[in-house]
């Protein structure tokens, strides 16, 4: 086989070995579709924060709290991503070349505080969601809140906060769960809800509760 390259092709056993080495892993079509749908719900660029005044009055108190918390969190992340460096005299146009914080203790305080609040709010939201899901209830607002928490989670994942090796895997796991909830459509089926809540109880909620402890003067504190 020359294929217009003026040379013979590779021996068949080599080509076969290459094909075997490069064989695609099994594809989970539904999981990939859910990821695509979740990603399409989150616009590119900044956090999508719907002004609270334009929201319809929520039917449940917990959901209203979650929406407000997410809105504040998104603003906090935005401020946190610029303010600390400005204070050190680094102008916005230098941000792309500014050195990133070292992992763990080197994470700037603004990011750490924002991450702590995000984890606490995610933990509260998931706890309430799980309780609602056990009763077979899901609401559009819960889906929207999950989508906004997902956006905040991605902002944090792209910030120096994720340099903390304790936070990175937690943010990754949280993203998967939030994406699952954000892609629920209409009244989710029992099996679908069970799948999410089982995952919550065995994984993310346990990790969140291990990281988050309440304090009197701050919403949360990440354990060192």
């Amino acid at each position: 086989m020359t294929d217009g390259t003026d040379e013979p092709g590779l021996p068949r056993d080599v080509t076969d070995a290459a094909k075997a080495h490069l064989a695609p892993p099994p594809l989970d079509r539904e999981a990939l579709w859910r990821r695509i749908e979740a990603a399409r719900r989150v616009p590119e660029g900044g956090a999508r924060v719907v002004p609270l005044a334009t929201r319809r009055r929520p039917a449940r108190t917990w959901a209203a709290w979650a929406v407000a918390a997410v809105a504040l969190l998104a603003v906090g992340i935005g401020i946190g991503m610029t303010l600390p460096r400005w204070r050190r005299g680094v102008m916005p146009h230098d941000l792309a070349t500014a050195p990133r914080a070292e992992a763990g203790a080197g994470v700037p305080a603004a990011y750490r505080v924002t991450a702590e609040r995000h984890l606490a709010q995610a933990e509260a939201f998931l706890t309430l969601f799980r309780a609602a899901a056990r009763d077979g209830r899901t609401e559009a607002l819960a889906v929207a809140t999950a989508a906004e928490l997902l956006q905040a989670n991605r902002l944090l994942s792209d910030s120096p906060a994720a340099d903390d090796p304790r936070l990175r895997p937690l943010l990754d796991d949280l993203e998967l769960v939030l994406a699952q909830i954000a892609t629920l459509r209409g009244q989710a089926g029992r099996a679908e809800l069970d799948l999410i809540t089982d995952g919550l109880e065995r994984g993310v909620l346990v990790q969140l509760r291990a990281q988050v402890t309440p304090e009197t003067d701050a919403p949360t504190r990440v354990r060192s």
């Binding site: 390259t5 056993d13 695609p24």
Partner: protein
Amino acid sequence: MDDRELIARVRAGDARAERLLYDRHVDRVWGLVSRIVGDADDAADAAQEAFVKVFERLGDFRGESSLGTWIGAIAIRAALGRRRARGTREQRYLPLDDAPEVAGRDAAGDVLLRDRVGAAVDALPDGYRTVFVLHDVEGYTHEEIGALLGVETGTSKAQLSRARAKLRTMLAGVR
């Protein structure tokens, strides 16, 4: 439903048509991105990114190529982006001078040949590797590769020739 009708429905916001488009093309996209990226997690990221862009940009599709070719080109760009990002992050892909030792075919013979060929393929520069994967593994013609990558047919042929030459050098002691 043919592609033209499918595209029209997706552009109109028909959720079922979006899923149908996904179902028709996901296997091919998955094969492409998996082979180019070489890692299941990064492949999933690349496939997700590709389909998000497909849906975002379908309004710009003018039918100058087939829908499959257009989607394939987007998938390949997404996969190459992931591969570059991972290479930067992990310094995983070595220069050819540092390529793994692949000489010597031991008693395991064919069992180890795959690993050695795989190591050699993974050590190819991205440009060579991509054309090699598309031509010798996926079975695309140089004309199709040119359309997928946006390069001249001659460029595809040259890249394949160089890829094969590198592989022969690295596998010289194996066969």
